[in-house]
Amino acid sequence: MVEGVRRLGLVALLAWGASLMMPPALAADAPLERGPFAAALCGDGAAQTKAVEAFLHRAAEAEAAEIAWAGAALRALLDRRLACLGETALLLDRTGAAEGVEAATGTARPAAGGRSPVLGLRQRALVETASGAAALLTGPSVEARRAGLSILERRIGAVPEAFLLRAASAETDPGLRASLAAVAQSAALSSPDPARRLAAIRAVSEAPSGAAFSRLSALKTDAAYGSDPAFRSALDAALARVERAVSIGNGLAVLYNGLSFASILFMAAAGLAIIFGLMGVINLAQGEFIMIGAYATYGVQEVLRRLAPAWLDAYLLAAIPVAFLASAGVGIAIEALILRHLYRRPLMSLLATWAVSLFLINGVRVAVGSQNLQFAMPSYVSGGVPLYADFVVTWNRLFAIAFAVATLALTLVILKRTPLGLDIRAVTQNRDMAACLGIRTRRVDRLAFGFGSGLAGLAGVALCPIYSVNPGMGANFIVDSFMVVVLGGVGTVAGTLVAALGIGSANVLIEPLYGAVAAKVIVLAGIILFLQRRPEGLFAVRRRR
């Protein structure tokens, strides 16, 4: 979303920059010489650094037209749309275009043989900051200018204070002006004026983060900390406030991580709980049903790309029924062809499902290939938003959590509120008695197997934005899902939910303390100990034999 806006802003900026291609208007002092500036951008790292730093320092006084021009050149350098022919730099419309315009003069020229410089990391940071500064001052829309400001905030130390003041006075949008003032205020931490410093400390502590804590802590070595009691108490109060906020933020992050891992575990295990609970079939192909769901999602994406590109962003939602039906269909076919002959032989069905899993993996590998599939990531599943202190909510995980909640609701409704659910529960509790009462248990088995496979297919949809999708992806989930099902108690959705939450949050809590490897070991050992005490798991379905 932000990226799109930024790009739009860039296009507008370029168009606007192009309309300004008049002879360079001279600023009062230190005009930006276009030729040498463009040549420096084509130079080595040192030359780039020097020119861009000089530009940043001059940006407080330079004319808006000059800044817009430089901004366009810098943006082109970032996007590798700057082609260098010796000393002259050409601006291209897109990377590798055959023709461009000379950056300094605006005359069109073929770009054949041009070299597109690759920015080193240090130069990239600097060029990003400078182009952010240009966007903040000369961006045509509020969004473009706000995007510029957010780039500047990442490296506020490199921005001269005078520039921020100029940008604040030139800004017309009141909201953006207020955020600019706040940024300018917090940039004054080392100002000689004590009052401004206190204001800066307050401003920094109002946007708490680990980085803010480090910036404030650095002030403890300042001379004023020992001599000025007002400064000292303000700093101590601010540090305490930031520290508290950061630890709350970290606590929230742990909760969120636990919840998101649990939601993945739950989705992978929900279908298995039904299949294992109802039929006692240890289905080792459950991971492959997840994979089929993910591949169905890919198929939906490709169909939409061809037929309705405008709706491409909605492919994850459109894939929900498709993935469910695809996995359910494969599941029902497997039940009808293989498993129904093996119901009285659990060991055989275990081996048969393992064979099915190998067959599905290799079938997909032959048909589609083993590379990771390429998904277009709509804005609702990419990036994240900083919510509080250092706590970032990532959209793909939030999507998975919402999806898991919906899966849970769907499962409960089907099990508790539909005739099929009633049949499934009856057969789970006492197969023979249910058969005596006229329930066609074979049919229930088939539908339940299809339903369980379909739930795995849904998990595949939710996992697309989080994990890599390839034929072998299912193998990652099978062990974890069995752990969840066995711990939760065979055949209960509530047990599966509680077990997923427990395993997910235990992993996340132990990981920072002892590392990810030990976390797995400790969780597994814990489960084994628990099952020694309660072999039936957390919630056991009462059965009559």
Partner: protein
């Protein structure tokens, strides 16, 4: 082409009991090369490509009349990312298939498990990955670079003024021998440069791990602490790499804040990722797809044509260093066998010193008399928007390999 699986292993074992009559008579005018690359498990997406490259190289040689008048036959297998299985299949290939040389392994743990097998049988294994060094077996040809000519130049670059002046390091790796040894050497290297121990952190995850939320949170709080520019030294392997990168980008960290040096990161790991928020992260290899050399253009088009002709299930436009190194391995073996006029391992080994081959990277590979290492060039790549790497820096020539690290 013979496919090896667990099942066919059993089959071959049974066939062994039968009289040797079933051995094909045409074996006289062919020579067999064996591949040990997984096409299933966590390494499948990247290792699987190498089987096809070896076949392509062999076909190229066959088209020119083979080696020593014999056609090359390639035997492939699937060790399924299961380390002991590499040794088992390797033994099978050497003893029963009588392959002249093995080409295989990606992870160091798989090489370590094949090592005793090739030593006992006096076989020859060409290993196409850059790795932790500290090993020199007469039965293994180390076609890619030890740390002194791959990792250390890249870390130096990042610590220097030209890079970012890195002062603090977050090491995160998969839990096995390569990441642990690399990190041990790096720590000793930093100590020798006067970097204090408080400036680094070390974390390991199980192979195939994918839930990187907590670790990326930790990296963010590490980066927020004072003490200078932080970087991430990433030694996770396989499918963990794209999963880590995705989480890293989603939590809003950019390369200009905390750059990642991905030591096992190749073009293929970026397939399926939106790389716009990842631009600027680094890797270091002896070959990058963007290498400017005529041999590279030729290799790229040869691979694209091969993928199309054989409908290979991998991308036609993605070529990664280990693919080129596997290709180089076959060429080096062919050169040595031709020079020796024999396929016997001791003879072929004697022919190694003085071999040279102009490979797709644009450097000339050479082998010396002191060890079984190959001198390669050094590239530092920077992720671009188009799921590839731009060349940020490359060495003026191919440095002489240093097998045993003075650090750690």
């Amino acid at each position: 082409m013979v496919e090896f699986t667990r099942r066919s292993l059993l089959g071959t074992a049974a066939a062994l009991a039968a009289p040797a009559l079933i051995r094909p008579a045409w074996a006289a005018d062919t020579v067999k090369l064996g591949c040990l690359f997984s096409s299933s498990g966590t390494m499948a997406n990247i290792e699987g490509r190498l089987n096809h490259v070896v076949r392509m190289a062999a076909e190229g040689l066959n088209a020119k009349g083979g080696v020593n008048g014999r056609r090359i036959e390639v035997v492939t297998s699937d060790p399924a990312s299961d380390w002991p299985l590499y040794a088992q299949i390797g033994r099978q290939m050497l003893q029963q298939e009588k392959v002249a040389a093995l080409f295989g392994c990606w992870t160091s743990v798989s090489r370590k498990s094949v090592l005793p097998v090739v030593e006992q049988n006096d076989g020859l294994l060409f290993y196409p990955l850059h790795f932790e060094g500290d090993e020199n077996s007469k039965n293994i040809v180390y076609v890619n670079s030890p740390p002194a000519s791959s990792v250390l130049p890249a870390v130096d670059y990042l610590m220097g003024a030209e890079g970012v002046g890195a002062k603090r390091f977050f090491m995160i790796g998969s839990d096995y021998v390569w990441p642990r040894t690399i990190n041990k050497q790096l720590k000793a290297y930093w100590t020798s440069k006067g970097v204090p121990e408080t400036a680094w952190r070390e974390e390991y995850v199980p192979l195939g791990f994918s839930n990187f939320q907590t670790l990326v949170n930790q990296i963010r709080s590490f980066a927020a602490q004072p003490g200078g520019q932080p970087i991430v030294v990433l030694t996770v392997v396989g499918s963990s790499i794209p999963d880590f990168l995705r989480e890293f980008a989603n939590q809003g960290i950019r390369a200009t804040d905390v750059p990642i040096l991905g030591l096992d990161m190749v073009e293929a790991d970026l397939e399926g990722l939106d790389t716009a928020p990842l631009v600027g992260h680094l890797n270091c290899w002896a070959y990058l797809q963007a290498a400017k050399a005529e041999a590279n253009t030729r290799f790229l088009s040869e691979w694209a044509a091969y993928v199309k002709a054989k409908s290979v299930p991998f991308s036609a436009d993605t070529v990664i260093d280990p693919m080129v190194s596997a290709y180089d391995s076959v060429q080096l073996w062919a050169l040595a066998a031709a020079k020796a006029g024999s396929f016997d391992v001791p003879e072929v080994r004697k022919a190694f010193p003085g071999l040279s081959f102009a490979d797709p990277s644009g450097y000339t590979l050479t082998m010396g008399a002191e060890n079984n290492y190959v001198a390669r060039g050094v590239f530092i790549g920077s992720v671009n928007e188009k799921q590839g790497f731009d060349i940020l820096w490359q060495s003026p020539d191919a440095p002489k390999p240093v097998p045993f690290s003075p650090y750690g």
